[in-house]
């Protein structure tokens, strides 16, 4: 008997606890042999970033990530998949996004997590604005072509 896998998608201002999210996905079951997690953090390479401000499209952000997660469920034999994306002001070193993919075997878990992140980058309605340490606005972060290319590699032929 197979039970339909329902993705867990949350859009929130608060931080998340990676260990707690893994536990939530695996609790009460013994058929999960692999869990892959990806955590995306706010990074500052130049030493000038005070914070990123993440704007999102409420409603569509949840809907779009759920659509992507359901596509992952169709493509790989997953036991569960979780995606959490934060919004609001996030400082360097803090968490932005979490993906947890659980499966019987590692390959599906690795691939599903990678797929979800690649699609999320180019399709989930979030925008980052930089705030600098000197108080000035650093402007909106530009979308990268490499992110589009990363998503395109999953296209079915």
């Amino acid at each position: 008997m197979t039970v339909a896998v329902v993705p867990m998608v949350r859009i929130q201002a608060a931080d998340f606890d990676v260990a707690a999210e893994i536990a939530l996905l695996t609790q009460g079951r013994v058929d999960v042999g692999a869990v892959v997690t990806f955590t995306g953090l706010c990074r500052d390479e130049a030493g000038s970033l005070a914070a990123l401000e993440l704007e999102h499209y409420p409603g569509m952000a949840e809907a779009e990530i759920t659509r992507i997660a359901n596509e992952a469920i169709e493509r790989w034999p997953l036991a569960g998949i979780t995606a959490i994306h934060r919004f609001g002001r996030i400082k360097p070193g803090e968490n932005i996004v979490l993906v947890v993919a659980g499966s019987k075997h590692r390959q599906a878990a690795f691939e599903a997590a990678s797929f979800l992140m690649d699609y999320l980058k180019s399709r989930a309605p979030f925008w980052k604005k930089e705030h600098r340490i000197d108080g000035s606005e650093g402007g909106w972060v530009d979308a990268k072509e490499s992110d589009e290319a990363a998503a395109a590699r999953w296209a079915k032929s």
């Binding site: 499209y57 569509m60 779009e64 994306h85 992140m117 989930a124 309605p125 604005k129 530009d142 979308a143």
Partner: protein, 84 residues
């Protein structure tokens, strides 16, 4: 009435987050909507200077610029996304 919603620098340049508009009858596709909006004043001209880069969602789903608007309740305009 159709609700238009703007995000990120599209919102900043237009100067508002959303508005309800009565779309002219000859605005049938997303591309026509962008061109019509662009003619609504300086702030729209600045936000939609390069309409081809603007991403559009109808009723919270991505669409391309050839899409028919039909009876859309909610149309969102925004720059390429930078989440994750």
């Amino acid at each position: 009435m159709t609700k238009l919603i703007y995000f990120a620098w599209v919102r900043e340049r237009i100067g508002k987050a959303e508005e309800d508009v009565e779309l002219p009858a000859d605005v049938k596709t997303v591309r026509e909507l962008l061109l019509w909006l662009k003619s609504r004043g300086e702030e729209f001209e600045s936000a939609l200077q390069h309409p081809e880069v603007i991403r559009v969602a109808i009723n919270q789903e991505h669409v391309d610029h050839r899409e028919l608007i039909g009876g859309a309740r909610e149309i969102a305009l925004f720059p390429p996304m930078t989440g994750g």
